[in-house]
Each structure stands twice: as structure tokens, then as C-alpha cells.
């Protein structure tokens, strides 16, 4: 069932809807092909940031223009798209991105992973299992994992070309020594296919293990910095850490979702007011809702 009727009356209709001037999936054919060629290189060199001629999109730079370009370049008539932000299908930016895809293609949308083929996400990997027929498109604010240790782009290019990640290791070591733990929060740097260190986007550490040896393809789009990269299925993805410092996901100390009681999903806190204790809810709203309606 198509949901595009839901968007009737929005300002996009008159521009996108029936207008023969706007191409299928917004981008002209040349742009789509350019993005596609970049993606094909990306999957052959997992973790390498492929430069591409990033086009300006109806969403601002920094707001998912890269993820959107990937989705628009790969989408076909029979795809079904899910778009989430912080795990929420109803986040306003997710809604905006999803309607851009749907109104410019006429395809169906869904909030359920099992019904979808393309899942575009900002900052989360859905809790539901994804299989080989799924493609995960992650929105990337900063694609450069070494940005904290080096600013000069020529030096950064050399470090990746020569797999010289020594300064990254030193920085993690100093972090551990200074703070007692590795303080990297989201976007934990990982070594992909034993070769490239990647910025995993601000997904929580909770989601990092999902990238490793997955059944699904993950594509990363950085529109502002004009790069794409990829992690194919069944690929080695190792969070950078030391032999005696196990990789840690976020600890919740027994907290449970106040709606579905889950303690096995990534939870986010709503602070209490007036001295009340905070409550927790699943970040993945569709997963939580499904659990409650089972």
C-alpha cells in the first residue's frame, strides 16, 4: 500500500509529484551514475573513503544529504524504504528524508525492518535482524576517523594509503592511561577487513558488533565531505582496542524500557523532574512497539 498519498498538500507535491521536470529519485541520471560508480569502488575496497561529486540536496549539508544521495542512487521502483533518526521513524528529520524519497519515486515506505529493503539511518542500527536482502545506509557527519589526531588532509590521505594508524593507537593508549577507560562514545573507530580504519558514524558502541560479519551491506554517505564508503556483508570489523582492554558497549545497569520492559535493546534516558528518577525507553521505537503488540 503506497503511503505517498499521506504527503498530499505538502509543498513538495507541486514541485515533485506529477512534475515531469523532476527526475525519478530527484537526481539527474548523470548524478546517479556518478554516485553509483563511487559505491561500486567502495564495496571493492571496504572502508576506503571514495570521493564523489556530492550534489546539493533539498536537505542541508550535515542533515543527511550524503545518505540521501546514496538512497536515491540505489533505489528502484520495487524498493521499500525505512528511514530512522536516533532509532525513531517519527523523528522530524527522518520524516522529511523519507517523504523526499517516497514522493520523488512513488515507492512504498515502512517502519518495519522485515518489510523494508533499504534502511536509511542516522546514528542507529535497527535492533531487528537484517538479512542479505537489506541494505543499510548510514548518514555520516564526519567520515574521517583520524580527525582527532591529524588535521592536514594530505597527511590523512597518506596515513590511510600506507595503513599508518600508529597515531590513532597512541591516542587511544593515552586516553586509557589518562582516564582509566577508553572514552570514545559513539562512532567508535574500527578496522575493516584488517586494512582501513573507519568512522562508524555516531552509532552507539551497542551497535558496533552488528557491523561485523553481517548478512547485510552497509553503505556510508558523507554529503558535506563528499565521500562514500562501504562495509560488505561477512566482513571483518574490529573495534580498535588493546588485548587487555575489552571493547565496552554502553552499560545500563539493569535499566529497562518503561514501555516494553526490554533490557536487551539500546535504551535512552528521559531525565526525571522535580527529583523523580529518570525513565528509560528503547531508542528503536518500531522494535519497541512490535514487542508491545506481540
Amino acid at each position: 500500500m503506497t503511503m505517498s498519498a499521506v504527503y498530499n498538500g505538502s509543498n513538495l507535491d507541486s514541485i515533485v509529484g506529477e512534475d515531469p521536470g523532476i527526475p525519478f529519485a530527484l537526481l539527474d541520471e548523470e548524478s546517479k551514475r556518478e554516485i553509483r560508480r563511487a559505491l561500486l569502488h567502495a564495496v571493492c575496497v571496504p572502508g576506503y573513503q571514495v570521493p564523489f561529486g556530492s550534489r546539493e540536496m533539498p536537505v542541508a549539508r550535515g542533515w543527511g544529504s550524503g545518505g540521501l544521495q546514496i538512497t536515491l542512487a540505489i533505489v528502484g521502483k520495487t524498493d521499500i524504504v525505512k528511514v530512522i533518526d536516533q532509532g525513531d521513524d517519527e523523528g522530524v528529520n527522518a520524516v522529511n528524508l523519507r517523504r523526499l524519497v517516497v514522493t520523488s519515486t512513488g515507492i512504498e515506505e515502512s517502519s518495519e525492518v522485515v518489510e523494508s529493503t533499504i534502511i536509511q539511518s542516522r546514528h542507529r542500527i535497527p535492533e531487528d535482524e537484517m538479512i542479505n536482502s537489506h541494505t543499510l545506509v548510514l548518514q555520516v557527519p564526519v567520515p574521517e576517523p583520524l580527525r582527532g589526531v591529524e588535521r592536514d588532509m594530505r597527511e590523512l590521505a597518506r596515513m590511510h594509503a600506507e595503513a599508518d594508524y600508529s597515531r590513532m593507537w597512541v591516542s587511544l593508549y593515552e586516553d586509557k592511561v589518562r582516564n582509566g577507560v577508553i572514552t570514545q562514545t559513539t562512532g567508535y573507530p574500527c578496522l575493516v577487513n584488517g586494512r582501513y580504519v573507519v568512522a562508524t558514524t555516531p552509532i552507539p558502541r551497542w551497535d558496533i558488533p552488528r557491523l561485523h560479519d553481517s548478512q547485510f551491506l552497509t553503505l556510508f554517505g558523507a554529503g558535506r565531505e563528499k565521500r562514500v564508503y562501504a562495509i560488505p556483508p561477512y566482513t571483518l570489523v574490529e573495534p580498535l582496542t588493546f588485548e587487555d582492554v575489552p571493547f565496552e558497549v554502553e552499560q545500563a545497569n539493569g535499566a529497562q524500557c518503561r514501555l516494553c520492559n526490554s533490557s536487551e535493546s539500546f535504551l535512552v534516558e528521559s531525565p526525571g523532574t522535580n527529583g523523580d528518577a529518570g525513565t528509560w525507553t528503547c531508542s528503536d521505537t518500531a522494535w519497541c512497539r512490535a514487542r508491545r503488540t506481540k
Binding site: 539527474d28 548523470e30 546539493e56 542541508a60 536516533q86 522530524v92 588535521r151 552509532i203 552499560q251 534516558e269
Partner: protein, 365 residues
């Protein structure tokens, strides 16, 4: 109560859009017609076209009106529209000497070859707020006469001798002319990264946000980031250039219109240890429309980059931090929900606290 936590994200968006559209389009004041932007706010239209990298005054006027005057939003509307359009042809290269001059000043010489035309400029006007401006009361010429002076299409205005050639004839200019003819770098198709060819640098600056370039200039030419440069301008020109394409059937050259540009040549005093110290060098700036401060900043930064020779991060700053959409978009993305990241950050704070030897384990989790 976050807007993400509310159901009905689409309703929220549509309400916001309705509010914007209604209050903007149904304001009590009179609607502004597109030709009013072009006729009475021409410098704004020119600036936005330059930053959008697209010459189309009417669409630009539409964008400015739709964006309620926000210049970043206006540029965004235009560039996003461009992304839906196929590129159907490339124009033939045109030499800037074909420019039909509307304005030309040469600060380096009192009597350069060719005319100095103050033209339509407020440079030497007194900056006194005039409540009568905008009404016909301050117009001192007949409109037809003013237009004729402004347009001034006598032939002497093209092929005006350049100061650069004067200096070359006096053997005071280093020779950086190329003998090859490489394809210019297309920043709309390939991201420019240092080290990049000069055409990448120039086209990035041509499309840069005017304030960003101005700021880069001020920081780098006069400090605090950079060096003290002796800066003299050679040419400052504003004028019209023809647009020509190859006819698809006859293969002949066809003029399909014209656009205006601002062009600047900046003279650089070479005084470095490894430089040609008895000569000058030239920096170049060119941008769409009438935008002198941008073209001047461009010319100075062009030569500063060349002289820097990739020693500092100047090239990277210019290529990667001066685009208005990139910088503003990324800044404002901070308004998006970040509660997953924040949750992870809070968890690490507690982990750090727990890892300290003085903290009792079992205290607040």
C-alpha cells in the same frame, strides 16, 4: 519533551511549513515582485548568484523571496534545483578582454592605459543614511541618461589594455604562463582536496560565501593567521561577457546571452628568499555578478596560496572551509536530535568516574 518523541512527525513538519508559507506569503505588506529584487536589490541578487554558481536572476529573485532574505537558504534552493537539471552543454571559453566594461579602476597607476571608469559605485559616496533614498526624490539624472551612462557601450570599452601586460612589457612580472591547456577542475563533479590545481582553488573561491572569503583574507593577509602582505590592486573591473556555445548542427559558435562578472588582478610584491625579488606576481579573482569585495579577496588569496606553496594549511582552509552551504549546514545540524550520542557520552562520564581509584564502587551507577 523532544519533537522526536512526539508522534506525528509529518504533522509537525507540515504545520511548520504551513506557518512559514502563510506568514511569508500573506503578510500585510505588499508582495515583492521578482523584478523588484533584480531592479532594486541588484547587489543582493548578484551575490547570491555568485554563491549558487548559477547565472539566473529571476530564479535567484524567487529563491531570495522564498527564503525570506536568508542568503544561505537562497543559495541552497538554487543549488538543490541545479542538482535536478541535466547538464546539456559547455560554453566555449571566452577571454575576459571581451568584457564590455561598466566599471574599471586601476589603483596602481594614475594613468593606466585605457579608461578608468568609476561607474556605478558607492565607494566615494558619503555613508549617510538618507530617508529619501528609494523614492524618486534623489535621482538627479533622467533615467534614460543614467542608463546610457551606466551601459556605455562604446567599443573602446572592450579589449582595454591590462596592467598585467604593462608590467610584463616593463619586465617587472614573473612569467607563470603555461604552455599546456589542461581541462579546468570541475568542483561540482569532483571534490577538491589539497594539493589541488589552481583552477580548483579559483572555482572554489568563485562560489565561496562572500563573508567567509573576506574573513579568510583578513586573517591570512594581515594576520593573525598569516603574513603581512604588501597589497596593491592592478585591475578592478565589472562588466559583461558573452556566453557562447557550439551549435549542435552547424558546429559554429553561437552567442546565447551574456552575464556580468567582477574581475580583479592583484599585484604581489615578491620578497621571499626563493622568489624573484626584482619582480611582481599577479593574483587573480573572478566571480559572477557585481561583487568587488569577493573578487578582491579571491585575487589576494589566490596569490597568497601560490606563494605559500602548500607549506601551511591555507589551501585547505580555502578549499574546505569557505563554502556557505557546507559550513552553515554543518553548524545548524547541531539542532538535530543527538540524544543517542548524549546518552553514550553520559555513560562514559560515569565510566571515567568509576575508574578513578578514589571513587567507591557501588556509588551512583
Amino acid at each position: 519533551m523532544g519533537y522526536a518523541a512526539a508522534r506525528g512527525g509529518l504533522t509537525a513538519i507540515r504545520n511548520a511549513e504551513d506557518l512559514v508559507r502563510t506568514l511569508r506569503d500573506m503578510d500585510e505588506s505588499e508582495q515583492i515582485e521578482l523584478d523588484q529584487f533584480i531592479g532594486r536589490l541588484r547587489l543582493l541578487v548578484d551575490r547570491i548568484m555568485g554563491e549558487a554558481g548559477m547565472w539566473e536572476p529571476r530564479l535567484t529573485a524567487l529563491a531570495i523571496r522564498q527564503a525570506e532574505g536568508d542568503h544561505i537558504e537562497s543559495v541552497h534552493l538554487l543549488r538543490a534545483y541545479k542538482s535536478t537539471l541535466p547538464r546539456i552543454a559547455s560554453t566555449e571559453p571566452v577571454h575576459v578582454d571581451e568584457m564590455r566594461l561598466l566599471r574599471r579602476v586601476v589603483p596602481a597607476f594614475r594613468e593606466p592605459g585605457g579608461p578608468q571608469i568609476l561607474g556605478r559605485s558607492t565607494d566615494y559616496s558619503a555613508r549617510m543614511l538618507d530617508p529619501r533614498s528609494g523614492s524618486g526624490a534623489t535621482a538627479s539624472l533622467e533615467p534614460e541618461v543614467a542608463t546610457q551612462i551606466a551601459d556605455n557601450s562604446s567599443t573602446v570599452q572592450t579589449n582595454t589594455p591590462r596592467l598585467m601586460n604593462v608590467l610584463r612589457d616593463m619586465d617587472l612580472l614573473t612569467d607563470r604562463r603555461r604552455t599546456d591547456d589542461p581541462e579546468p577542475f570541475d568542483i561540482t563533479r569532483t571534490p577538491a582536496r589539497p594539493p589541488a590545481p589552481r583552477s580548483a582553488r579559483l572555482s572554489s573561491m568563485a562560489r565561496a560565501e562572500t563573508g567567509a572569503l573576506l574573513n579568510q583574507w583578513y586573517r591570512n593577509i594581515l594576520g593573525p593567521d598569516g603574513y603581512l602582505h604588501e597589497v596593491t590592486l592592478g585591475e578592478v573591473r565589472h562588466g559583461e561577457l558573452p556566453i557562447r556555445i557550439k551549435h549542435p548542427y552547424t558546429n559554429g559558435s553561437v552567442s546565447i546571452g551574456a552575464l556580468r562578472v567582477t574581475e580583479v588582478e592583484a599585484i604581489e610584491d615578491l620578497n621571499g628568499v626563493d622568489e624573484d625579488r626584482d619582480r611582481f606576481d599577479i593574483g587573480y579573482g573572478l566571480c559572477l555578478g557585481h561583487n568587488e569585495r569577493k573578487a578582491i579577496a579571491m585575487a589576494n588569496l589566490d596569490i597568497a596560496c601560490h606563494r605559500d606553496g602548500s607549506k601551511s594549511s591555507l589551501e585547505q582552509s580555502i578549499l574546505l572551509t569557505t563554502d556557505g552551504l557546507d559550513s552553515a549546514g554543518f553548524l545548524e545540524h547541531l539542532k538535530l536530535p543527538h540524544y543517542v550520542t548524549f546518552r553514550s557520552m553520559m555513560e562514559r562520564k560515569i565510566a571515567v568516574r568509576n575508574a578513578r581509584p578514589t571513587v567507591q564502587k557501588g556509588d551512583k551507577a
